[in-house]
Amino acid sequence: MDTFTALSVIALAALIHASFQLGVSTITLLSSHGAGKKVAAGKISRLVGSFLAGTITVTTFLVFALLYFTTTLELWQKPNSLWTAISGALAALGIAVWIFYYRRGTGTPLWIPRAFARFLTARVRSTSLSVEAFSLGLTTVIAELPFMITPMITATLALAFLPADLQVLGAFGYVAVASLGIIVVAVLIGGGHNISHIQRWREANKHFLQFAAGTGLVVLAFYLYVNQVVAVAAAGAGIQ
């Protein structure tokens, strides 16, 4: 995999990661409940900032941990079976996103079990300290790992192909792009945008976001399969 291909894989994986919505839902609820309880705007901003810091921290930790294992175990140099498995997982995840990332009905209810959604909502309601908001950020990223982990592993495998000095930059770039959705909503809330308008936009565009994320995963799967499995096999067989 050349540098350009690796960077394009990292960018696409990060954009797919950014399209996942649990963090955005949680940050929307956090600011909505804060305002409803007459919490000062400054404190809401601090809670939102702490939540954002929590999500960025755990995403950074996970990306660097996966990068460490990938490079230490030299997973990126493993045979085609690894890339076949990754391609298959990405394609399956893409189909899963198309089918059940959002539940049917109005609003933006996500795939997470309802009992867990109620638990998270209760935690959001009782969040009053920055440290609680920070841990809520950690929890939401971990809760969405079933969807996030495969693009994250794909990105770290691609990162391993980069020169050493670019790997750290690429990892931070992944985290920045992956956190873009939450950052944008946090900035909008901090800028005084109405929560109702943000939520309406999310509801109006949820099917587009779902389709885009699912399609992105399938495209990435196909791209990696052709680039890392078919092309390598063809080269091995001496086919140009």
């Binding site: 909505s32 305002a35 959604a117």
Partner: protein, 94 residues
């Protein structure tokens, strides 16, 4: 003061409660504040919605919490569409 109306909660999964307008007022008031209404406006809106729901509930021996929410949202829609949207959908954000 609570009215002598039983509220069936979550389709009977939780024990019934006597209808308490102050709980409705608190939830409408909080929703209005969530969409950045001013305090006085939020209070007036919540009072108006409560009076509409109370007049709807009058003479009914039993209502469900979903009925109250539906009637509250309908009354709120005319006064504050943004708050009504959030009130209707706050359980479907996550």
């Amino acid at each position: 003061m609570p009215l002598a109306v039983d509220v069936v909660k979550r389709g009977g999964k939780r024990p019934n409660e006597v209808f308490d307008p102050s709980k409705l007022h608190a939830s409408i008031y909080a929703t209005c504040l969530s969409v950045r209404s001013l305090d006085g406006h939020a209070d007036d809106t919540a009072k108006h919605v409560c009076s509409v729901v109370i007049s709807w509930i009058d003479n009914k021996p039993e209502v469900t919490s979903a009925d109250i929410r539906h009637q509250g949202a309908k009354a709120l829609e005319t006064l504050h569409p943004d708050a009504a949207y959030l009130y209707k959908h706050h359980k479907q954000i996550m």
